[in-house]
């Protein structure tokens, strides 16, 4: 393709005060190209996208977008691109039709072109039935699709999308990408940020970013072949022992348990793998995924961190969480609908589901933060509605936002939460040391919490939540927006806590994380549509080799059939 590039960036960077959040980005994006910007939170993805949309001035470098200099002619770039920011960018008090009409009117779309374009886009997004509904009353997935339609109404040659599928249910995510696919077929270039590796894999080229610095740039196939030889799969009957062996080898970068008989390993260097002993006999090279690529390139020069291997876990019998027919209504809206679930000591229950499925509400009810409208729930034997005092003493809770005080240091946060939970002053130091060791965080983290990365904040929030040695731990989307490596590490910490007899309930919208949980609860529209081990759920569907996403989609489809029949 020799056409003029849509984006031509040289040495782009941005500084806020003394802090450089992005540097040395040099990329070219051609017409019709799908370009993924991949990296963890705080990597500089949003900054880069805002610079490309000409709504943020770069501190270094130069860049032409659609042939216009983004410094001199920002207005011309702004007028021609489609830019979708993270979160919800439309007006919640306006209806679907009004939002589309507004987006089109401020972008000078002629009236007759608008009508045809609107019909086509809304049909593609499956929103034509909801034209008179207010944007704020749509589901998260629908809001995202609508925002995308609003950005396609003026047929921009370049679409810039900041984490378009963040927190969107799998079905809506597929629809979102179907719309994007047709936009690509119309010749539009798409630049998008993501933390989903499968989306990265589907793009023409990707840029991997970490800490504001580009790590790798190229087609996914190129990047994967560069990582070839680094990635192996271990077949074993004793994964605990295999992991223990992997942990001791200096050549091992990272490993993740895939199932009860498979562990995936990334090596520091390509080539013949070292002898890892009896339990890692069946070691065979596998085709690297984008997740593996990210692990390999981002850990190249990172210091080796002692990762705690997953300790062995035995089943325990004491039921610590018992919810029966729990329901919660907000006005007409049923946020949690007749949920019955039990969690035993030492067990990890994963709550999976899109935003708005009721995961957070269910967790809040079980924590005693929200009274159920119906049904009953007991935590460690205490009734959540009537004995909330005792319930709160028995639980640890990490909320989505990691409720830390960002203007205090790590140590100050720990001391505050320790006092708030009534840890005796004489035991405080020992308790903090214990909690930090369990959460894999050092109390020597300098500076205020707001300057810490989200991965460290996440572990600090975990430390704060376990200071009073709770028997039940609730984690509400603790891994959202955290890079894959830190996520694996976090799951290992959770497993370690469970092995000590803590019952854990974790919610997540990363479906691949399901493999870390003992049992799964799939939630949709407030209902628990499936509950059981991953194997049991697969068996139920008759899909032995299915991915978690397919399992989830099949259950959603089954629910829809049931609903239609009713």
């Amino acid at each position: 393709m020799n056409a003029a590039p849509i984006i031509d960036a040289q040495g782009l960077g941005r500084r806020y005060g003394r802090r450089t959040v992005l540097r040395d980005v040099s990329i070219q994006v051609g017409p019709g190209e799908v370009f993924g910007v991949v990296g963890p939170d705080g990597a500089g993805k949003t900054t880069l996208l805002q610079i490309l949309a000409a709504i943020l001035r770069p501190s270094f470098g130069s860049c032409r977008v659609l042939g216009e200099d983004i410094r001199k002619h920002a207005d011309r770039v702004q007028a021609r691109v489609g830019y979708m920011s993270q979160g919800f960018s439309l007006y919640d008090r306006l209806t679907v039709a009004e939002n589309i009409a507004f987006a089109s009117a401020i972008r000078d779309v002629p009236k007759d072109a608008f009508a045809a374009r609107k019909t086509e886009l809304l049909a593609m997004a499956g929103l034509e039935r909801f034209q008179d509904r207010r944007e704020g009353a749509l589901s998260g997935g629908m809001r995202k699709k609508l925002a995308l339609c609003a950005n396609l109404i003026h047929e921009p040659p370049l679409l810039i999308l900041d984490e378009p599928s963040l927190g969107v249910d799998p079905l809506s995510r597929r629809e979102l990408w179907r719309i994007l696919d047709s936009a690509r077929k119309e010749g539009r270039s798409i630049v998008f940020a993501t933390s989903y590796m499968d989306e990265a894999d589907a793009s023409d080229r990707v840029l991997l970013l970490r800490d504001g610095q580009p790590l790798a740039l190229g087609a996914p196939s190129e990047l994967r072949s560069a990582a070839r030889g680094h990635v192996y799969s271990v077949r074993t009957t004793n994964p605990e022992a295999a992991e223990a062996a992997l942990q001791t080898s200096p050549r091992v970068l990272s490993f993740q348990r895939r199932s009860s008989e498979e562990v995936r390993v990334q090596f520091r260097s390509a080539g013949e793998p070292p002898d890892l002993g009896l339990h890692c006999r069946e070691l065979k090279p596998v085709e690297p995924s984008m997740e593996d690529v990210f692990t390999v390139v981002s850990s190249q020069d990172a210091p080796i961190e002692a990762v705690q291997a997953t300790p062995a876990r035995g089943p325990r019998s004491e039921v610590l969480v018992a919810a029966t027919h729990v329901t919660r209504q907000f006005g007409d809206f049923v946020a949690v609908d007749d949920v019955t679930v039990e969690v035993k000591a030492g067990e990890v229950l994963g709550l999976l589901g899109p935003n708005g499925a009721g995961k957070t509400t269910l967790i809040r009810i079980l924590c005693g933060l929200l009274a159920p409208s119906g049904g009953q729930a007991r935590i460690a034997g205490f009734d959540v509605a009537r004995q909330s005092e005792q319930v709160r003493a028995s639980i640890g809770y990490v909320s989505q936002k990691f409720s830390l005080f960002t203007d205090l240091t790590a140590q100050e946060n720990l001391t505050f939460f320790g006092r708030a939970y009534g840890v005796p002053p004489s035991e405080m130091a020992a308790r903090i040391a214990w909690a930090c060791e369990r959460a894999g965080v050092s109390t020597f983290e300098l500076g205020l919490v707001r300057s810490l990365s989200s991965a460290i904040r996440q572990r600090l929030a975990l430390a704060c939540a376990i200071l009073h040695r709770p028997r039940v731990l609730f984690l509400d989307e603790p891994t959202s927006g955290v890079d894959p490596l830190s996520r694996f590490r976090f799951w290992r910490l959770i497993a370690a806590l469970a092995s000590e007899g803590v019952a854990v309930i974790v919610s997540t919208h990363y479906l691949e994380e399901a493999t870390y949980c003992d049992r799964l609860g799939l939630m949709m529209d407030g209902r628990m549509i499936a509950l059981g081990t991953l194997q049991a759920l697969k068996a139920d569907l008759g899909l032995a080799d299915a991915r978690v996403e397919d399992v989830f989609l099949s259950f959603i489809a089954r629910e829809r059939v049931k609903a239609d029949a009713a």
Binding site: Q78, A79, Q86, L94, A105, D108
Partner: protein
């Protein structure tokens, strides 16, 4: 500037406003709440001031003088001791605001055509109330039959424009200016900073909408609301409080429209400088409401202020509309006398709007 884009933007803003019950409530009811609160509570009129009468004379003439005081609505008697010390004690305790002391022989002296001194003691703790009470006392004594009380000069004072000195007739036209400076800028600043907080503004940044279009598109709907507020407070002022109107209502409404354009522009200017709704609210209150109460002549006349604060007051548009509003309502003044205020408001609005347009950044940072 493209009219279609401005219209689309203003329409979207209007839809958002009418669908938010809180905004509608603040816009329509809060001005009335403030008008009623201050219209009723803030009064410089003295009514039923507690008065002690020490009558040493106990003649027909002394009783006539006492009755003269008590037959007004200004005073009510709270005691009639024989001893001045008891009266002074009551004054000190705040049980009485004034003491009328009639010496022995008052009636005899009057009959003989001699000067008949009486003592009128006023509690000066509240300076403005004291001045009013003593003026009332003096007026009653002037009016005493035959004008024989001992008074060296007998001036004839007439009050123009508000002959009964009804303070409500003076407060309410001032409140028009203060209320229209309080709510329109607040609503406007909140609307823009809300877009910044929710992130919906990113969509505006990445669009062909220009800065002047943005400013005008926001200005129009909020100026319309502010104009509605103007109509509401004027209606309440004239119909409920029955403030007499001496000038042209059409002129007041026309100049009110100019004034609300000015106050909404101030809200826009504030919103270009802050990022959050909380900051918008605080800054707006500090730059609009607070100085409007103190430095607009609404309560405290500007000509009695030290020169520095007179200069400060001249920088706050409220003062000019207080002049306009009181001028038209109380004195029946026309443009011939008020034009300078109108010119200042117009220039002020133009400058603020230009500044807001220049300071608005169509960028995140």
């Amino acid at each position: 500037m493209k009219v279609a884009r401005i219209f689309a933007f203003a329409r979207k803003e209007t839809l958002e406003i009418i669908r938010d019950p809180i905004t509608v409530w603040i816009a329509l009811f809060m001005p009335l709440v403030i008008l009623f609160l201050f219209g009723y509570a803030l009064s410089f009129d003295v009514k039923d001031a507690p008065l002690i009468i020490v009558d040493h004379d106990k003649s027909a003439a002394s009783r006539a003088l006492s009755d003269q005081f008590l037959n007004t609505t200004y005073f009510r008697q709270v005691g009639a001791p024989d001893d001045e010390r008891i009266a002074e004690h009551a004054l000190m305790q705040g049980e009485a605001r004034a003491v009328l002391s009639i010496p022995p022989g008052f009636g005899r002296r009057l009959r003989q055509g001699e000067a008949a001194p009486v003592e009128f003691l006023v509690d000066g703790t509240y300076a403005s109330t004291a001045a009013i009470v003593s003026a009332y006392g003096r007026a009653i004594m002037y009016a005493f039959p035959r004008g024989t009380l001992q008074l060296p000069v007998q001036p004839e004072v007439r009050v123009w424009y508000n002959p009964q000195l009804r303070s409500r007739d003076f407060i309410v036209p001032g409140l028009f200016a203060v209320i229209l400076m309080a709510f329109p800028p607040l609503l406007t600043a909140l609307a823009v900073s809300r877009e910044k907080e929710l992130g919906t503004i990113a969509q505006i940044y990445a669009s062909p909408l220009t800065k002047p279009e943005f400013i005008v598109g926001k200005l129009l709907p909020y100026a319309a609301i502010a104009f509605l507020q103007l109509v509401i407070v004027l209606a309440a002022g004239f119909l409920w409080f029955k403030v007499p109107m001496h000038g042209s209502l059409a002129l007041l409404v026309a100049l009110g429209l100019l004034y609300v354009l000015c106050t909404v522009s101030i809200g826009l200017l504030v919103s270009t400088l802050v990022r959050t709704q909380v900051a918008a609210m605080l800054v707006t209150l500090i730059v609009t409401l607070m100085p409007s109460f103190l430095f607009s002549g609404f309560i405290y006349p500007i000509f009695t202020m030290p020169p520095f604060f007179q200069g400060y007051s001249a920088r706050i548009p409220t003062m000019y509309f207080v002049n306009i509003s009181r001028g038209i309502v109380m004195r029946g003044t026309g443009l011939a006398e008020l034009w300078i205020n109108v010119v200042v408001l117009a220039v002020y609005t133009a400058v603020v709007l230009t500044l807001a347009t220049l300071l608005l950044k169509k960028r995140i940072a």
